[in-house]
C-alpha cells in the first residue's frame, strides 16, 4: 500500500477499514464458509456506498475517484480487503464496471447494468480462461460466430469468480473477426445475483447458459464453470465493437491483476504482523522466538519480500492508471513477484507458527487462502515471467 495517502484517500481507506472491522470480523468470515453466495447482499450494497465500485468509473457515468487516480484509490480498498480476507467480488465487479464505462454505455441495457454495479445492487463476473488446455494466461474457452443480426456463444469459461452470484457476465470470446466481449445476464428470465442469488448448480435463466459451482480454497469467494451451449446474444450486448476487444481485454487483465495483487499484499501484511507478534509472545527454552538469530534472519527476509511486494504493487497500479507504456511489464512483474513471494511468505508464517498455523481456529489460513487464489488466477507467476521475456525481447529488437 502507498506510504503517503492524500487526505481524501485516507478517508476512503479509513471508512473501508472501519466498515470491514464492524461487518466482517474474522469469526464472521469463517461463518461465510456455509453461505452459498459468500457474502450478504446488504454488505455489498453498503460497501458500494463507500465507493467500492465507483472508483474506476468516470463522473459522467455516475462514478468518481477520490484522487484522480481511481485504480490507485481502489488498491487502498483492496489492501483493506486483504488485511481482513473480506468477502465480495471486488476485482471482477470493478473490472467489468470500468470496461462498461469506457465503452460509453451506448446501449441502455449496458448503462443500466453499470448503474446497478455502482449502486451495489448487482455484482459482475468476467468470463475468461477455460478448461485445459485453455487454462493459459489470456486464453478464453468461449468462441462466437456471427449469425443473423447477433452472435452465438459456445464453449466453457472457468474459473469465473462470482458467476453464480453475478447479475452480469462479461464474456470474452474469440472468433474469426477477433476478440469480442459481450454482456450477458444469466438471469434473463429469472432473478439471481446479489439480490438473492444462491449459486445453486444447474441452468440459469438464459437459454443455453449453465453455471456450475467449483470447489475453492477460499472461504468467502465463489467460483464457477460457465458453459455456453449456443447462447444467442444481440449486437446491443456487444461491449465496444465486434472483433475489437483486444485492448479492452488487456486493460481488464492489468486491472484485475492490480486489484487482486493489492489484496494479496494486504493478506501478506496481516499474516506477517500476526507472525511477528507471535514471535515476541511465544517462548521456547526460556526465550522468545524473536531472540533466535536463525528466526530473526528469516523475518528479515520476509520483511524485505513484504516491502518489495508493496512497492511493485503500487508501481503497477500507478502505471496502469496512467496508461504508461511500462504498465504491461510492471503488472506482470507484480503478478510474478507477489504470486511467488506472497505465497512463500504466507507459508513461512505457517512454519514459524508451527501446528497452530494450519488449524481452522487460527486466522492465518484466512490470509493464506487469499494469497493462494491471487497466485493462481490471471496467469501463473511463470507465465507472467514468460510474458515479460517477450516484452523485453520485442523492445530490444526495436532498439
Amino acid at each position: 500500500m502507498l506510504l503517503e495517502l492524500s487526505p481524501d484517500q485516507e478517508v476512503l481507506r479509513e471508512a473501508t477499514a472501519r466498515f470491514l472491522a464492524d461487518r466482517v470480523p474474522a469469526d464472521v468470515v469463517r461463518g461465510l464458509r456455509t453461505n452459498a453466495a459468500g457474502f450478504e447482499p446488504g454488505y455489498w450494497r453498503d460497501g458500494a456506498e463507500l465507493g467500492w465500485t465507483s472508483l474506476l468509473v468516470g463522473e459522467e457515468h455516475g462514478g468518481g475517484s477520490v484522487s484522480g487516480t481511481g485504480l490507485v484509490d481502489l488498491t487502498l480498498v483492496a489492501h483493506e480487503f486483504g488485511l481482513r480476507s473480506a468477502p465480495g467480488p471486488l476485482t471482477s465487479t470493478n473490472v467489468v464496471a470500468a470496461t462498461l464505462a469506457e465503452a460509453g454505455g451506448a446501449h441502455p441495457a449496458q448503462a443500466s447494468a453499470l448503474g446497478e454495479l455502482l449502486a451495489g445492487t448487482a455484482v459482475a463476473s468476467w468470463c475468461l480462461g477455460g478448461p485445459p488446455p485453455l487454462d493459459r494466461l489470456g486464453s478464453t474457452g468461449v468462441s462466437y460466430r456471427v449469425e443473423g443480426d447477433g452472435l452465438v456463444l459456445r464453449g466453457v469459461a472457468r474459473p469465473v469468480e462470482a458467476a453464480g452470484q453475478a447479475d452480469h457476465l462479461l464474456v470474452t470470446a474469440h472468433g474469426e473477426l477477433g476478440l469480442t466481449q459481450v454482456l450477458v445476464s444469466p438471469g434473463a428470465t429469472g432473478g439471481t445475483g446479489a439480490t438473492g442469488g444462491t449459486g445453486d448448480p444447474g441452468h440459469a435463466g438464459l437459454a443455453g447458459l449453465a453455471i456450475e459451482p467449483l470447489r475453492t480454497v477460499e472461504l468467502n469467494r465463489r467460483f464457477a464453470t460457465v458453459r455456453f451451449d449456443d447462447v444467442h446474444v444481440g449486437l446491443d450486448q456487444v461491449v465496444g465493437a465486434v472483433g475489437e476487444a483486444a485492448d479492452q481485454v488487456e486493460r481488464q487483465l492489468q486491472r484485475a491483476i492490480v486489484i487482486s495483487g493489492a489484496e494479496a499484499v494486504g493478506a501478506m501484511q496481516a499474516a506477517f504482523e500476526l507472525t511477528v507478534r507471535w514471535a515476541f509472545e511465544r517462548y521456547s527454552y526460556g526465550r522468545p522466538l524473536a531472540s533466535y538469530q536463525a528466526l530473526k534472519h528469516r523475518f528479515a527476509d520476509l520483511k524485505t519480500w513484504l516491502e518489495a511486494a508493496h512497492a511493485i504493487s503500487d508501481a503497477a497500479a500507478a502505471a496502469v492508471d496512467a496508461r504508461s507504456p511500462e504498465a504491461a511489464e510492471l503488472v506482470s512483474a507484480a503478478k510474478s513477484y507477489i504470486g511467488d513471494n506472497g505465497t512463500e511468505l504466507l507459508q513461512e508464517c505457517v512454519q514459524l507458527h508451527g501446528g497452530i498455523g494450519v488449524t481452522y481456529e487460527h486466522d492465518l489460513h484466512l490470509f493464506l487462502r487469499r494469497g493462494t487464489v491471487n497466485r493462481a488466477m490471471y496467469g501463473t507467476p511463470a507465465e507472467h515471467r514468460q510474458r515479460v521475456a517477450g516484452l523485453i525481447e520485442h523492445r530490444k529488437e526495436q532498439e
Binding site: 506510504l3 503517503e4 511477528v276 514471535a279 515476541f280 526465550r287 522468545p288 524473536a290 531472540s291 538469530q293 530473526k296 534472519h297 523475518f299 528479515a300 527476509d301 520483511k303 524485505t304 516491502e307 518489495a308 508493496h310 512497492a311 511493485i312 503500487d314 508501481a315 511489464e329 510492471l330 506482470s332 512483474a333 510474478s336 513477484y337 511463470a382 507472467h384 515471467r385 514468460q386 510474458r387 515479460v388 521475456a389 517477450g390 523485453i392 525481447e393 523492445r395 530490444k396
Partner: protein
C-alpha cells in the same frame, strides 16, 4: 526539502539535463560493463577511464549539473531528490562517472556534509563535485569485516596532530584515489563503540602504502592500505574525539542508501555497471537458447527482479525521507540488492550452458559468465554483508532482541581477538 518558489522545476531541470547529456556524453556500448568485477581493463586503460570520469564530473560541474542535492554554497545545485531521480533517468544509457559515485559522494561526501566543519566542507565538497578529489572509505580492516567498529587502527594524539598506524582493506580503486575517510581507535580503555574517532587524510603520501589485491578472476581493483606513522592534523578530525561511532552509524546508513541516496547518480534500472538484467536476452541469444521456455522464464525473472528492486528502492527512499520508515530500513534495500544480484548472476551462468565453463573470446555475451558466477557472492559481501543487513532489519526495524555481544561494557583492549587475516 521544500522547493523554493525560484527553484528550477523538475521538468525544466530534466529538459536541461537531457539536452546537455545528449550533446556532451557518449552513449554506452550495450553491455560493455556487464558482469561482476570483470578484469576487462589494463592498468593504463583503467587510469584512462578514471581520467575520463574526472573530466565528465568537471563538465557536469561547469554545466550546473553536479551535486544535485548538495547545497549551493558547496558548489552543488541545492535541488531535490526528485531532480536527482530525473537526472538518473536521463543519464541512463550514457557514460557517467560511475567510479566517483560510491564511495566518494556517498558515504564520504554525505558524511562530510553532515559532520564536517565549515572549513572541511568548503575545502573538500566543491573539489569533489569538480572531480578533483576521489575518496575512499578506510573502514574495514583485515581483522574486522562485519564487526566494523572493532577497528585496530590506532590514532594517538601528538600535540596538534594525530599519529595513525594500522591497516585498512577493501577499498575499490585506492591506487588512483585521492582522499580517505578513516575510522580509527583513539581510546583502548573505553568499550568498543566509545573509543573511535573519524579522520580525513590524503592517500598519496608517505606512510600510506597502497597494495592491490588480486581477486580470483585477476581483477586488481580492491586494495589494502598500510598506515605507518601517518600524521593527521586535528583540524582533519570529523566529529568529536572518541565519538566516532555517532559518525559511523550515519556512515553505515549512507553506505546502505547507495542505490537510493539523493547524493548519488545511479542510472535508472541500474544493476550491472549501468546495464540492466535484459542483458540475459543477449546471453540467451548467444547461447542459442532464446526459444527455450525455461530460459525465457529466467529472462523474465531477471527483468522482474530489476523492476521490483527499483520500486523497492523508491519506496524506501520516500519512506525514509517522509519519516514513515526508520533510517535503518535502508538495510532492506541492501538485502534485496545483494540477493537479487546473485540470483541474476546465477541465471546468466545457467543460460550460458557449457560456455559457463569454457568459452572463446568471440563467443559474445556468454563469455565470462562463468567468472561472474565465481564472484557471485561479492554483492552480498561488499558494502556490509547481507547477514548484517538481516540483523539490522530484525533488530532495528522489527525491534527483535539484539544478539548477545561479548564486547559490550568492557575496555576494548580486553576484548578477545582472533588471529588477523583478510
Amino acid at each position: 526539502m521544500t522547493p523554493s518558489p525560484d527553484q528550477e522545476s523538475v521538468e525544466d531541470f530534466r529538459a536541461r539535463a537531457r539536452a546537455w547529456i545528449r550533446a556532451n556524453l557518449a552513449p554506452l556500448v550495450t553491455n560493455e560493463k556487464t558482469g561482476v568485477m570483470r578484469a576487462r581493463l589494463t592498468d593504463a586503460e583503467e587510469l584512462a577511464e578514471v581520467a575520463r570520469e574526472r573530466e565528465i564530473q568537471r563538465m557536469l560541474f561547469d554545466a550546473g549539473l553536479a551535486g544535485i542535492c548538495f547545497p549551493r554554497v558547496y558548489g552543488g545545485q541545492g535541488l531535490t531528490p526528485a531532480h536527482q531521480r530525473a537526472f538518473n533517468e536521463e543519464i541512463t544509457g550514457y557514460e557517467y562517472p560511475a567510479r566517483i559515485q560510491a564511495p566518494t559522494f556517498s558515504p564520504c561526501a554525505a558524511v562530510l556534509l553532515e559532520f564536517g566543519t565549515d572549513e572541511q566542507k568548503l575545502r573538500h565538497l566543491p573539489a569533489i563535485l569538480r572531480g578533483d578529489e576521489i575518496w575512499m572509505q578506510f573502514l574495514s580492516e583485515p581483522s574486522s569485516g562485519s564487526d566494523v567498529a572493532g577497528v585496530l587502527t590506532s590514532a594517538v594524539r601528538d600535540g596538534d596532530d594525530w599519529i595513525l598506524n594500522g591497516s585498512k582493506i577493501w577499498t575499490t580503486g585506492a591506487w588512483w584515489s585521492d582522499w580517505a575517510l578513516c575510522l580509527a581507535r583513539t581510546n583502548w580503555d573505553a568499550p568498543k563503540h566509545r573509543g573511535l574517532t573519524v579522520f580525513i587524510l590524503p592517500i598519496r603520501q608517505d606512510g600510506v602504502d597502497v597494495q592491490r589485491i588480486e581477486m580470483l578472476n585477476g581483477n586488481k581493483e580492491f586494495c589494502q592500505e598500510f598506515l605507518t606513522d601517518v600524521r593527521v592534523p586535528d583540524s582533519d578530525r570529523v566529529g568529536e574525539v572518541d565519538d566516532g561511532w555517532t559518525v559511523g552509524t550515519r556512515w553505515m546508513f549512507h553506505e546502505r542508501m547507495l542505490h537510493n541516496s539523493p547524493f548519488v547518480t545511479v542510472p535508472a534500472g541500474w544493476s550491472y555497471g549501468g546495464v540492466d538484467a535484459t542483458f540475459l536476452v543477449d546471453v540467451a541469444r548467444d547461447a542459442g537458447r532464446l526459444d527455450d521456455p525455461r530460459t525465457r522464464e529466467l529472462i523474465g525473472e531477471g527483468r522482474v527482479i530489476d523492476l521490483v528492486r527499483e520500486a523497492l528502492q523508491g519506496r524506501i527512499g520516500r519512506g525514509i525521507a517522509s519519516r514513515r520508515m526508520p533510517d535503518q530500513s535502508a538495510a532492506i534495500g541492501r538485502l534485496f540488492a545483494g540477493l537479487s544480484s546473485t540470483r541474476v548472476t546465477s541465471m546468466a551462468f545457467e543460460i550460458a550452458g557449457s560456455a559457463g565453463a569454457a568459452w572463446a573470446s568471440d563467443d559474445g555475451s556468454v563469455a565470462e559468465c562463468g567468472n561472474d558466477f565465481l564472484l557471485r557472492q561479492t554483492t552480498c559481501i561488499g558494502g556490509g554483508t547481507t547477514e548484517i543487513a538481516r540483523n539490522v532489519i530484525s533488530e532495528r526495524v522489527l525491534g527483535m532482541p539484539r544478539e548477545v555481544a561479548m564486547d559490550r561494557d568492557r575496555a576494548f583492549r580486553d576484548v578477545p581477538r582472533g588471529g588477523s587475516g583478510r
